[in-house]
């Protein structure tokens, strides 16, 4: 599924690009409403997952690999593991900025939804974004 950078994410990137607003560590979150990301979205469009054991994950700047070929990828796969019974249907993930809570980008999983029901159910993600 195509990755989506909404309008507010584009503005955030532009301001970071020229150092008007210094970049901060992005935060990865899972969403559980049946949304296909669009260019008009904001962070408020998405309903964050709430299953037991879930917490958003801060992606630290130093952990990203070097950008190459217009793509930059996080150094390790991130895993959200459920620690109890749940009813979340996970449709994808979205990335927000630490301080301003702007949606930087979002992606719906091509095989969504992923049903999180039992302890041990896990959602895995290796964050990556391209500029081509």
């Amino acid at each position: 599924m195509a990755l989506n950078v909404p309008d507010e994410g584009e503005n955030y990137a532009l301001e970071a690009f020229v150092n008007k607003t210094p970049a901060t560590n992005p935060i990865a979150k899972l969403y559980k409403n049946n949304i296909t990301p669009s260019d008009t979205d904001t962070a408020a469009t998405f309903t964050e997952a709430t299953f037991p054991g879930y917490a958003s994950i801060t992606l630290t700047g130093a952990s990203w690999g070097a950008a190459s070929g217009g793509v930059i990828t996080y150094g390790s796969q991130q895993t959200w593991t459920c620690s109890g019974s749940a009813t979340d249907d996970i449709y994808g993930y979205y990335i927000v900025s630490t301080t301003s809570n702007k949606c930087l980008w979002a992606e719906r999983d091509a095989s969504a939804p992923f049903l999180v029901r039992n302890s041990g159910d896990a959602v895995k993600l290796t964050p990556s974004i391209g500029a081509n």
Binding site: A2, P6, D7, T36, S38, T40, A44
Partner: protein, 105 residues
């Protein structure tokens, strides 16, 4: 900037292009082209163009609150950009002016 017509002392000539044809031309060429993550209309229903594969597009039909209710593979040429008011209210999030810049006119 002066147009050629005005420069040579006569009214500029503009080809008479039907509105529908003009809209189709505009909406399939940048910056108003139907593209990934854009709100579109296919046969009267609103959704999002989620993928383009050759001449076909993956169209995610949405309901009144902007949730995806059906995924269809449709001819890309039959999609048109949605107007601002056709985008579900909860998913607009941008002003009508900014939406117009993005082609939602």
């Amino acid at each position: 900037m002066l147009g050629l017509g005005r420069l040579f002392g006569k009214a500029a000539e503009i080809a008479d292009v039907p509105r529908q044809q003009l809209l189709e031309i505009v909406q399939h060429h940048n910056p108003y082209a139907v593209d990934l993550r854009k709100w579109c209309v296919y046969k009267g229903v609103v959704g999002i163009c989620a993928a383009i594969q050759g001449n076909m597009a993956e169209f995610h039909r949405t309901n009144a609150i902007g949730e995806t209710v059906e995924i269809l593979l449709v001819p890309y040429a039959e999609l048109r950009l949605a107007t601002y008011m056709e985008i579900p209210e909860s998913r607009r999030n941008i002003s009508a002016v900014r939406a117009a810049i993005r082609g939602y006119i």
